[in-house]
């Protein structure tokens, strides 16, 4: 048994939640498949952090980030395995997390739908590393830690996924991706 210094105090935890709860919920959602489960997973992740006594988590933000995604991923995978046959019904309060304008909401849904459609066509492991890399800004090494893959394997998955995405976009009529991006930039 090894005793460690006190865990982060509550204000630190609040700041941590403010910083990571949305990325983690989004990441968990991509694995677990429903928002309820994703939120439960992230709640468990933060509770786990509150119990954790590892000083390196508090000293090194990159370790902390990787640790959070690791815990979140494992919990989400567990949850997904347990509930893979259950089709969740989202609650009303969960549908409107933010309240965008109707046009922004429509545009956002279009963009997200297009993006998700393109990414979700990729194999799961490629989807995951792409999300971790471009959505959560983790390095190859951190992705490797989270996913328990080798750095080389992560590089290969990213390379393959990006190549496939680019090819699909280039082959899509009218370059839907470019049009959508241009519309957003304007």
């Amino acid at each position: 048994m090894k005793l460690m210094p006190p865990a982060a105090d509550v204000p630190d935890l609040s700041a941590l939640m403010e910083r990571y709860e949305r990325p983690l919920v989004r990441y968990a959602l991509s694995i677990a498949g429903d928002l309820d489960s994703a939120r439960d997973v992230v709640q468990e992740t933060f509770i786990r952090f509150a119990r954790e006594q590892r000083p390196d988590l508090h000293e090194n933000p990159r370790h902390l980030e990787a640790w959070l995604f690791t815990v979140c991923r494992n919990r989400a995978l567990d949850h997904h395995r347990k509930h893979s046959r259950i089709v969740p019904m989202p609650l009303a309060e969960d549908r409107a997390d933010e309240d965008p304008t109707p046009s922004a909401s429509l545009e956002s849904r279009d963009t997200a739908a297009c993006l998700l459609r393109l990414i979700e066509a990729l194999p799961p492991n490629q989807q995951e590393v792409i999300r971790l890399k471009f959505q959560n800004d983790l390095s190859y090494k951190e992705i490797a830690e989270v996913t328990k893959l080798s750095v080389t394997n992560v590089g290969f998955l990213l390379h393959t996924g990006l190549k496939k995405l680019r090819r699909v976009l280039q082959e899509s009529p009218g370059d839907e991706w470019a049009a959508m991006a241009a519309r957003r930039e304007s």
Binding site: P5, R22, P23, R54, W67, V71, A112, K148, G155, F156
Partner: protein, 701 residues
């Protein structure tokens, strides 16, 4: 340049190290197409990043956030690291990776445990007391013919009367130069004394016996132990009566306990010892920890009870109480509970200790443990906590090899890695579990067991199988009393003979104290542990009282003298083989009675004659019986006049007694110093090892 390369993508995304990035830039400088592809890839990555960042990211609900913060406020700030769920940020393994190894490991461990627990019952960890006691002779005093005045030993009021001495006695002590210090604990004085009978020629019998042999003769079985207070009426044990112990065990669950330093555990055992003082002595805790279900075993060891009262053990577990209790039922010490057939006890509070007025309260005694005696070279515990283990002339890389070998050789010296230094030194029990080692932590070590944890420099017999050493001297913890050292030494193995050769069978010694000289006596820390109903734990059918080549058995008697004038210098009687306070030459057996009577005649010699001892044994491979008669006079040897072996044995006994009752867990500083001063000639470094260990124990204030 091939741009369809993960390294090229990694370069474009800034993931290559500086050296490889420089190499890549050199290549790109010479390849405009590749450089353009890299730029396009960066642009695509930027767009992808931007779009993915803009994806909707729900937050936790307010309730969930509040729950996390509430938990954080209430979470302890020092907990054990857990590894469930997720792996650590670096160097850990995922659950899948863990299970990849743990599942087969758990299966293998299960097979090992199954084999250990069920196919080889003699090796069960629960059989520790029996293992320790298997088939090694130990000295045991049975004195059924001595009549003890009713309540004499049990009545605490009798003690002051014993201690109140006449001026003549005090003068005698001063004259004999008894130790002025009393380093022993008060507990040392609380052990009951016996009084020699009128016909002291029949009074005492000292026997060397095996655990598997019947403890008492048939007509003695129902008699209370002569050195213990009269036992209360037999009260069958029941599970209900173990209720408080169960509750207490549960209070102690979950953590490892060090009896020497852990106040809670010490208090718990103290409470148990107090509560059960009329029947049993709480011995200690067996704590098992690890990923497997945890449980604290709380042992209540029998102490001077008839076999049917044999112990009860409280078992409680944190996570898997049912399985632990199931295991506990395999223990021989659960027989009482099972025999009673009582239903499981309901939960309850710890019962208050019985008051002195309402219960017969024998004085506190050292914890009672079955006491195997060492064979030559068998107890070398200096390396008990290190590997490889050394056992006699053999070395073992692993403890399971040691255990296997010890089992095969029908020996009892197991090596224990206990937290209590004295117990670690003394018990010598090592239990290998599937995960590692189970630790038995015991509060106090019995003096008799400790006494026999060393090798002594007793002279081997000149001829025959056995020799006897007798010596009287000052008692370090009670200057008004005298100590008698009695040791039986077996001959060494001849060249070509097996190391564990049994050279004498059915060894027993008969002790007869002179009632004109001795008013009371006691064997230091008798261990009247009843024998199991069947054969011993190892399934051995070895004869009772067997002594092996090179083995020695040591016991110490404390005697209280009758009021008598101090012996004058130069008027010391000499009798038979006795020389002053020592005797190591037998009396001619044909004239033993004559010699005894004449030499213990109604003169000054009668007052100095302390005791007679007859040792009986048989040839292990024949029917021939042998006996040796010894007589001992006490010339009043002072502490410094005694032999080094006497001083060592007495100081060790003093130390063990100063451990006192089980909750003490520590000895007085004076007792420790006395041991250090009495080291004498070392035989096999066991004394130095013991000294190192007792220095680890915090002394009593």
């Amino acid at each position: 340049m091939n741009t369809d390369d993960p390294n090229f993508t990694a370069y474009a995304l800034g993931e290559l190290d500086s050296e490889r990035s420089l190499e890549m830039e050199h290549l790109l400088a010479a390849d405009a197409a590749a450089a353009g592809e890299a730029a396009a890839l960066r642009q695509f990555a930027g767009r992808l990043r931007k779009e993915l960042h803009s994806e909707k990211a729900p937050a936790l609900t307010d309730n969930q956030r509040a729950r996390v913060l509430t938990f954080a406020r209430s979470a302890p700030h020092a907990t054990e690291i857990e590894c469930e769920g997720a792996a650590p940020a670096s160097g850990g393994e995922s659950l899948r990776a863990k299970w990849r190894y743990w599942i087969p490991a758990a299966l293998a461990a299960g097979i090992v445990v199954y084999l250990g627990l069920f196919l080889h019952p003699a090796k069960r960890p629960e059989k520790l007391p029996a293992l320790l006691a298997q088939n090694e002779p130990r000295l045991e005093v049975d004195n059924p013919l001595v009549e003890r005045p009713s309540g004499q030993s049990a009545d605490p009021a009798a003690k002051p009367a014993q201690q109140d001495q006449s001026p003549a006695q005090q003068t005698a002590q001063e004259t004999r130069g008894g130790l002025s210090q009393r380093p022993g604990d008060e507990a040392a004085k609380d052990i009951a004394f016996n009084k020699p009978g009128a016909n002291y020629a029949k009074a005492g019998e000292l026997r060397s016996r095996s655990f598997g042999a019947p403890m008492l003769q048939e007509d003695q079985k129902m008699e209370p132990s002569p050195e213990l207070p009269a036992a209360p009426p037999h009260e069958p044990l029941s599970a209900a009566s173990a209720k408080p112990e169960l509750a207490l065990a549960k209070q102690l669950n979950g953590t490892e306990r060090n009896m020497a330093t852990d106040g809670a555990a010490r208090d718990a055992v103290a409470l148990l010892a107090k509560r059960t003082a009329s029947k049993e002595t709480a011995l200690g805790l067996d704590t098992r920890t690890g990923d497997a279900p945890q449980a604290d075993f709380l042992y209540l060891m029998p102490d001077g009870l008839p076999p049917e009262n044999l112990g009860r053990k409280a078992v409680a577990g944190t996570k898997d109480a049912a399985s632990m209790e199931k295991r506990g039922r395999n223990l021989q010490f659960d027989k009482g509970v099972e025999a009673a057939g009582a239903a499981p006890a309901p939960q309850g509070e710890i019962a208050p200790a019985p008051s002195a007025a309402s219960a017969v309260q024998p004085p506190a005694k050292p914890a009672v443990i079955t006491t195997p005696l060492p064979t030559r070279g068998a107890v070398n515990l200096a390396n008990a906590e290190t590997a490889p283990q050394t056992y006699g002339e053999k070395s073992f890389a692993r403890n399971d090899e040691l255990r296997s070998w010890a089992s095969d050789e029908q020996t009892a010296a197991f090596v224990e890695t206990s937290r209590h230094p004295v117990v670690a030194f003394t018990l010598g029990a090592y239990i290998q579990s599937a995960r590692g080692e189970d630790r038995y932590t015991i509060a106090a070590a019995p003096a008799a067991q400790l006494l026999n944890s060393f090798q002594y420099n007793y002279s081997p017999p000149q001829k025959g199988a056995l020799s006897v050493a007798l010596e009287a001297g000052a008692c370090p913890w009670a200057p008004e009393h005298r100590l008698v050292l009695l040791a039986i030494r077996a001959r060494d193995a001849a060249p070509g003979e097996a190391l564990q050769l049994v050279v004498a069978a059915g060894v027993r010694a008969q002790v007869r104290f002179n009632p004109d000289r001795i008013s009371e006596y006691r064997s230091i820390d008798r261990t009247p542990i009843p024998a199991p109903e069947s054969s011993n734990a190892m399934g051995s059918s070895a004869p009772a009282g067997a002594m092996k080549a090179g083995q020695a058995v040591t016991t110490v008697f404390e005697v209280a003298e009758t009021a008598m004038p101090a012996p004058e210098s130069g008027v010391l009687a000499r009798s038979g083989g006795s020389t002053g306070g020592r005797s190591d030459a037998p009396i001619d057996s044909k004239s033993k009675l004559k010699a005894g009577r004449e030499l213990a005649g109604p003169t000054a010699g009668a007052q100095e004659h302390l005791m007679d001892v007859t040792v009986y044994w048989k040839d292990p491979r024949g029917s021939a019986s042998h006996s040796l008669e010894y007589s001992l006079d006490d010339s009043g040897a002072t502490w410094s006049e005694t032999s080094s072996e006497f001083r060592w044995a007495a100081s060790v006994a003093n130390y063990a007694l100063s451990l006192g009752n089980p909750q003490a867990g520590a000895a007085s500083e004076a007792a420790r110093r006395l041991v250090e001063e009495s080291r004498g000639a070392e035989v096999n470094s066991s004394r130095d090892s013991f000294l190192r260990r007792i220095q680890q124990i915090p002394a009593k204030p």
